[in-house]
Amino acid sequence: MIKFQNVTKTYNFHTTVLDNVSFTIKKGEFVSIVGKSGAGKTTLIKLLLGIEKPTSGEIFFDNNNVGEMTSGQLQKLRRRIGVAYQDYKLLPKKTVYENISYVMAVKGKSDQEIEKEVTQILDITGLLGKEENFPEELSGGEQQRLAVARAIACQPEVIVADEPTGNLDPYNSYEIIYILQKLNKMGKTIILASHDKDITNKLGKRVITLEDGAVIRDEEKGRFMI
């Protein structure tokens, strides 16, 4: 489903963030991409979403080259990939309800569908009762859950979580991971970018380890080892 083929990303001609990275992710997989801060995890996600273009190499999503996609094709791609960003990237001027419903509206869902599904998502992510709050009125954990809620709102085929537990206490961290596991069981492909050793080890899923921009390990039932 997703294929990184000899991808290199260099900034300012001399700072190499990703170095000849190659891997494939199959549909329905749960993959953790681990590495220290600055290892290139976030850049990998940016390249997958077409936010940035690789310096060399190619990224394929369903056999379509992301680097060659037009603006319209990128729009469609981004509707198929739900992303929970490390810095949340919530819509600060919209309520919790509107943050989630916005993504559904983008996908063209009807008002009835939106109303029904937003309630379900709020329930799954434990945000029921917070519908009318604005993001700034939520705690860190709630904002993180809202980011996840938004990522899963339009029922994407792939859910990417970039350091979703980075700012959370252990209780909230495991809640987020539990949600991701649940979604994976429902058939969604999950990509978890993390530097949390405990969580990665407890998952017992495939782990791709990045170090200085290069893939140093790719194991089916891997562990966080750096």
């Binding site: 603006s71 981004r78 990237k89 001027k93 993504v103 509206a105 983008v106 008002d111 339009c154």
Partner: protein, 303 residues
């Protein structure tokens, strides 16, 4: 399509209501070009009125020999009328009528009456009084009347005496019009820059939000739409405020202005050009608000 449009309007309206502080500033700034455009329109009306008043007092007169038949003079009048559509009026004044007008004008002045009695006969020549709305027409008419065909009946055309005054007046009028256009363009550009910069501050606060919208796959129009509609709503509110305010100002200003420019009632002018004023104010308010938002959001869509 309709659902998307409905959502765009809904987003715009809720943003408009929620961010009244920013919108108040936007409305205030949009009111400036609206009032500016309205003032320029009224000023143009006023200057046109003054110009037409002065213009109606500028004419040239062709004096005919005393023995010229009235029918010949009326024939010349018809030929002049056919010269150009810019000839607004050609009035025949007979010798008797000229004398009567002279007597009426100077009936209280015994010196003039005595001078007239001294002469004994009617000294006034029959004439054609010609008014046009374009300066260069006077020269054409003068040349036409002084051509060989009329030399036997026309005694004199007073164009050469009035030439300098006529040309000076029309040159001033042309300069006023030209300055008006230049001033309008300069003020419009300044207004646009002020509006763009003020709205930029407001939209810049939404930069991250626009990026987030792009990242969830929203189309450019779905992102840009609410900002454009919100700009248009601000413009609409600015228009309503300006329309009421300018109407009130012109109502109270009218009597004072009429003392300075007799015959020009600014409030009546405002009412008689109601549709045009409405068009200018809505155009400047809604148009400028929407255009500014369109331009500003565009720069944040490159994600």
């Amino acid at each position: 399509m309709f659902t998307s449009f409905k959502r765009v309007v809904k987003f715009a309206w809720s943003d408009f209501i929620r961010h009244s502080g920013n919108n108040f500033a936007a409305i205030f700034v949009l009111a400036v070009p609206i009032l500016l455009a309205t003032s320029l329109f009224i000023f143009q009306g006023l200057s046109q009125f003054v110009v037409s008043q002065i213009q109606s007092k500028i004419d040239i007169t062709a004096y005919f020999n005393p023995d010229t038949k009235e029918q010949d003079i009326l024939n010349v009048k018809d030929q002049i009328m056919k010269l150009s559509p810019h000839i607004k009026q050609v009035e025949y004044v007979s010798s008797d009528q000229a004398m009567k007008e002279f007597n009426d004008r100077h009936k209280d002045n015994p010196d003039f009456i005595a001078a007239e009695e001294e002469v004994g006969t009617n000294p006034f020549l029959p004439s054609l009084n010609i008014v046009t709305d374009q300066a260069y027409q006077y020269k054409n008419i003068s040349d036409f009347l002084q051509s060989d065909g009329f030399s036997s009946i026309i005694n004199k055309v007073d164009y050469s005496q009035k030439k300098d005054t006529i040309e000076k007046f029309y040159s001033i009028t042309a300069n006023i019009n030209k300055s008006g256009y230049v001033l309008s363009i300069v003020l419009f550009v300044i207004a646009l820059i002020v509006v763009l910069n003020t709205l930029k501050l407001s939209i810049e606060g939404s930069k991250d939000e626009i990026t987030s919208m792009k990242l969830v796959g929203a189309s450019n129009w779905f992102i840009r739409g609410p900002f454009i509609v919100q700009g248009a709503i601000c413009g609409l509110v600015a228009f309503l405020v300006c329309f009421v305010a300018s109407g009130a100002v012109f109502y109270f200003l009218a009597p004072s202005l009429e003392i300075i420019v007799p015959g020009f009632n600014v409030f009546n002018y405002f009412l008689s050009n109601f549709e045009f004023v409405l068009l200018i104010q809505v155009g400047f308010g809604v148009g400028l608000g929407a255009l500014a938002s369109f331009i500003l959001v565009r720069s944040y869509l490159k994600v």
